[in-house]
């Protein structure tokens, strides 16, 4: 089942945002785009609400929780653990970016919702 992060309200920069969303969450890569969208949806909800029940592979959760909520705490060991779990550097990169973009879409969603006309 494909999971997508929520639709974001439009703004004057929506075309650029859409280009980025399509590339990172849907473009060709080493990881399945369905997994990238799942990561983005998970990060989006976790970032906005501080918790989420959305599914995510267990082996990714510790790293992506950290990237979402406190990326400054990521260590060399966190990345090494993913490598030891069988993820290539390109896969780690793509999933990190999917997570970051999910948080960015969450920021747009939360921010644009309150700046509209009264």
């Amino acid at each position: 089942m494909a999971i997508d992060p929520p639709i974001v309200p439009t703004s004057r920069h929506s075309l650029a945002v859409e280009r980025l969303r399509r590339s990172v969450l849907g473009g060709p890569g080493q990881t399945d785009p369905d997994l990238r969208r799942q990561v983005a949806a998970y990060a989006n909800e976790l970032w906005r609400a501080g918790k989420t029940d959305l599914p995510l592979p267990d082996e990714l959760r510790p790293y992506l929780d950290k990237v979402t909520l406190a990326a400054y705490k990521v260590t060399d060991e966190d990345v090494e653990n993913l490598r030891n779990g069988g993820f290539s550097d390109d896969e780690i990169l793509e999933l990190t970016l999917a997570c970051a973009v999910g948080c960015g879409l969450g920021t747009l969603g939360a921010g644009l919702a309150v700046v509209g006309e009264a």
Binding site: H13, A16, D89, L93, V114
Partner: protein
Amino acid sequence: MRLSILHDGHAEAERQGLEEWERLAGPPSDVSLALAYRPDFFGDPLNAWIDGALRGESEWSSGDRELMGSFTAHEHRCPFCTGAHAAVASLTFGDERVGAVLADPDAAPEGLRAALGFISKLVSDPAGLGRQDAEPMRAAGVDRAGLEDVVNIAAIFVVMTRFANAMGFEGTDEEFAREAEGLSVTGYAEWRGEPSDPETNR
């Protein structure tokens, strides 16, 4: 950087681009290296978004917007993005003013101060954000487009600080200052084949 592919895994075309960059402006920073890796996937679309939000037409000056970016990065404890964009903002405002605003956003003039307060709430308590949090910006005369710019800048730095911190970007003030000078010439979108218009610096 934690992933060596971002340092030296570039395809031939990007490697040549980086060598050309180095001849013109010195060694590329970690962010330049990272955005040049598989640029179709992330770097090019990201730079297009940044170019529109930080350099496109806006009621905010580029210096204001760079300072908003640096402030957002500061809120995320991302020394790389804070320093890199403080260096760009300093070209407009000077190091002292930029440092003062990062240390205390109340030191900023009214409109910018309102924007920084909004960003701080947005990135620390998105679930608690309400229309009232945008009121100080509206009271300072910021229009709808200006409000959208602020939200987009915050979102850009929510993305970039996670990328930079997770990947372990490092840089020095000297490198930030050098790259800020280069950026003031090229803009964000140029070096990957999307030339800036010298008339508008876009």
